[in-house]
């Protein structure tokens, strides 16, 4: 009888050209689920302490979710795991698209790659038969070309591809791994790990059945959820969203957010629904985090309002098993033609290439998005590097001599596009910036580090901790730092975990904004709950936007029980999340990474505070928040190291 997972993993040694199938005992799934949890279990035990992230001992894992393919919804996420070349510690990245079920259709919950090939290769798995093939003809090709060539080459209709582009080949530490022509597992620099192994792509063509224990119950739960997902709210035109944000920004109090509202925004516009609203609310950093909403007001940001992106949408894009469809396939704007279509730029991309660098040209954002997708480069980090370079230029640290004549001023669209291309090519100044802003600052010196806005070397996403300190906290305490998809005070509200896990605190319905900045134990408990839940739902392969719908509506615990035949309580599942998070932290400790080193740049913490705009005067007591969080997790509050007792309690001491 099925249990939702496949029960097997594949190990590929590219150095020796060998394959090894391993059966994973049921107990491992009960302790770690699949996905990132299974990945953490394998990597913690098998990557040696001194392994070079770009060397043969690093293991790169492609893992699927436990619930992927079981008839559940929103569960099409795949994850890539490995030792990160950015932090030297735990690395993972999470992506939608179509690859997640393809891993399971080949008969595996995870495919793990070790060793280094002498020449470029790709891995092809045809109905359970793995094969390493030459990729000389693909090296240098972009991700879209690579995918098209490979699907034609293997000649099978149900083929899925994950590949790197030129950025990964050139070992850019901000390179990601793409599937479905531009949906990228972008963070942690794992595209460079794939490039270091000379592995251009994995190509999966399988048709294995994925069998849940109780399919009828899976369907019943999914149908019920779908009725909620398909409820649509009426919305005003796109540019009006900015003024809704202005109103929210000006109010002294705030109401607990219900994810149903955000779900409807995603359904209509995608993540771009927040393009303007976020700036006005103070959620989106402006001008490399030194500006404010007053520098990029509604009249300027109107050029990137949600309708601009929706109008180019030819067809909605749904990842596997998603009933919502926040993505879109768009036409390219005329000025930047040459590509037939592009994935609709996401919020993060619009803001890093928009407000963060003061660029108001939406056409160029479409183009930059496609360039990055094809290069296989993380847009968040690339935008962070560009913003850093512009501020260095503004302060005379970089000059036209350094930039090959580029006038790197705020909002200079042509220079921004030219610099992005240089980063992809690793040409001139682009070579310096292609590993993210922190490494660039270390090479440049001259105190330029203060302009590199990052945590643990990873450029910060477009959510400002001075507006929601929960973001600043999760940027700092996660084993893979600088990530916006795990927790925040806002996320805790939308997850609605207290409705299922009775010991968790219910937030006040209306609260004064000042209270957000008071670091206390209750907030630490809430933040820890976000991390545990996030690890749990990553193990299941669930999308964050599904989780936003709220635990009382999204039947994650019920799905897991129906898929596996287990009878676990929400509390027991939260403990699995706690175990995965603690193991990821233990991975960092094992590899000599100091958790305190992930504290974000001073500017992003409001040190000094902004003197204008919606976040004026706001700062974050990050040291106390980090210590409180570690303590809430049963980790040492001084060092962030999981205590012996905690390791023992979670069964991690074997």
């Amino acid at each position: 009888m099925g249990k939702g997972y496949m029960g097997k993993i594949l190990f590929v040694d590219l150095g020796k050209g060998t394959f090894k199938e391993e059966t994973i005992p049921d107990e491992v799934y009960e302790k770690y689920l699949s996905g990132q949890g299974l990945g953490a279990y394998i990597l913690y035990n098998r990557i040696p302490r001194d392994a070079d992230p770009l060397g043969p001992d690093n293991i790169l894992g492609f893992v699927s979710g436990l619930l992927t393919g079981t008839g559940s919804l929103f569960t099409g996420r795949w994850m890539v795991v490995g030792k990160s070349p950015i932090t030297g510690g735990w690395g993972d990245s999470n992506c939608g698209g179509t690859l997640s079920p393809a891993i399971k259709r080949c008969g595996y919950d995870g495919i793990f790659i070790t060793g280094i090939s002498e020449k470029p290769v790709y891995l092809f798995i045809d109905n359970g038969k793995p094969e390493i093939r030459d990729a000389a003809h693909l090296w240098g090709k972009d991700t879209v070309e690579t995918e098209e060539i490979l699907i034609k080459e293997v000649g099978k209709k149900n083929t899925r591809v994950a590949c790197i582009g030129p950025a990964g080949e050139r070992l850019s530490l901000i390179a990601g791994i793409s599937n479905d022509k531009g949906r990228i597992a972008a963070r942690s620099g794992l595209g460079a790990v794939m490039g270091s192994k000379k592995l251009k792509a994995i190509v999966l063509s399988g048709a294995k059945r994925i069998t849940p224990r109780n399919r009828d119950e899976m369907k019943r739960l999914s149908s019920k959820l779908n009725k909620i997902v398909q409820l649509k709210l009426p919305f005003p035109p796109g540019p009006i969203t900015a003024y809704v944000g202005t109103l929210i920004g000006k109010m002294p109090t705030q109401m607990v957010q219900d994810g149903l509202l955000y779900k409807s925004l995603l359904q209509k516009w995608g993540t771009g629904s927040m393009n303007q609203m976020s700036i006005e609310m103070g959620d989106s950093p402006i001008k490399n985090w030194k500006g404010s909403n007053e520098d990029f007001g509604p009249k300027i940001s109107k050029s990137t309002n949600p309708d601009v992106f929706k109008e180019r949408e030819m067809v909605k894009y749904h990842c596997y098993s998603c009933p919502l469809g926040c993505g879109g396939i768009c036409t390219m704007p005329g000025k930047y033609n040459g590509y037939e279509e592009t994935h609709k730029p996401e919020y993060e991309t619009v803001l890093v290439f928009g407000g963060l660098v003061m660029n108001k040209d939406a056409d160029s954002i479409f183009y930059l998005n496609e360039l990055m997708n094809r290069a296989g480069m993380d847009t968040i980090s690339a935008g962070g590097s560009i913003a850093f370079a512009i501020e260095c230029f503004e302060n005379g640290i970089l000059t036209k001599k350094d930039t090959d004549g580029l006038e790197l001023s705020w909002g200079n669209t042509d220079a921004i596009v030219a610099l992005a291309k240089k980063m992809i090519e690793r040409e001139g100044i682009g070579d310096l910036l292609a590993d993210g802003p922190k490494i660039a600052a270390e090479k440049i010196g001259k105190d330029s580090i203060k302009y590199a806005i990052q945590a643990g070397g990873q450029a910060l996403p477009m959510h400002d901790g001075r507006n929601d300190p929960g973001f600043a906290l999760h940027y700092s305490v996660e084993p893979t730092p600088g990530r916006h998809t795990i927790g925040a005070q806002l996320y805790y509200e939308m997850y609605q975990l207290w409705k299922k896990v009775k010991s968790l605190p219910r937030p006040k319905f209306i609260y004064h904004k000042d209270t957000k900045y008071v670091a206390d134990e209750e907030k630490a408990v809430m933040a820890a709950a976000c991390s545990k839940y996030n690890q749990l739902f990553n193990g299941a392969g669930l999308c964050l936007f599904g989780a936003f719908i709220g635990a009382s509506r999204l039947p994650i615990f019920e799905w897991l029980n129906a898929a596996t035949g287990w009878e676990k309580s929400p509390e027991e599942y939260m403990e699995i999340g706690e175990r995965i998070q603690t193991l990821r932290q233990a991975f960092n400790i094992k590899h000599g990474v100091d958790p305190k080193g992930f504290k974000p740049s001073e500017r992003a913490l409001g040190r000094p505070p902004l003197d204008r705009g919606v976040n004026k005067g706001r700062s974050v007591d990050i040291e106390k928040m980090m210590a409180d969080y570690w303590q809430a997790f049963g980790w040492d509050r001084e060092t962030g190291k999981p205590t012996e007792d905690t390791m023992e309690r979670l069964g991690l001491n074997q």
């Binding site: 059945r209 369907k219 149908s223």
Partner: protein, 141 residues
């Protein structure tokens, strides 16, 4: 339990050619064999086999030949469909595709049977659809 082939097999190779996962091997005019690790229980071998009792299904029951023109095909009700792509992924022969957008204010793509000839009538698309928007329907005739 996978499908199995009995000694009644005539070795005509019809099943080898139809099996979507390459699970069946055997020389012409000799008894064939199904690799139990590869079989996905789609049943096409049983439907295409002209010899009564040569192929047993997952419950050990003998399969019956059905003319390919009479195999059930998926009929997709797009009013219930949520464009989630699950059916496309479930299809072992890749005969379902996503349309380019329904138009008239609805820019969702919907699945459709893009290669009717390739469809083996396995019904995996209907089984896996979480909202039961697919019905397997036998052609009239």
């Amino acid at each position: 339990m996978p499908y199995t082939i009995t000694d009644a097999c005539s070795g005509c190779t019809a099943c080898v050619r139809k099996c979507p996962v390459g699970a069946i091997t055997g020389e012409r005019k000799k008894v064939h064999k199904i690799d139990p690790d590869l079989c996905i229980e789609c049943g096409v071998c049983g439907r295409i086999c002209p010899v009564s009792g040569a192929i047993l299904d997952q419950l050990g029951k003998p399969c019956t030949f059905v003319k390919p023109a009479l195999w059930s095909k998926p009929v997709i009700n797009i009013n219930d469909c949520m464009s989630c792509n699950i059916c496309i992924d479930a299809c072992p022969v890749g005969c379902i595709s996503l349309s380019k957008g329904a138009g008239a204010g609805d820019n969702h793509g919907y699945p459709y049977l893009s290669d009717e000839k390739a469809c083996i009538g396995c019904s995996f698309c209907a089984i896996e659809c979480p909202v039961d928007a697919i019905t397997m329907t036998a052609p009239k005739g």
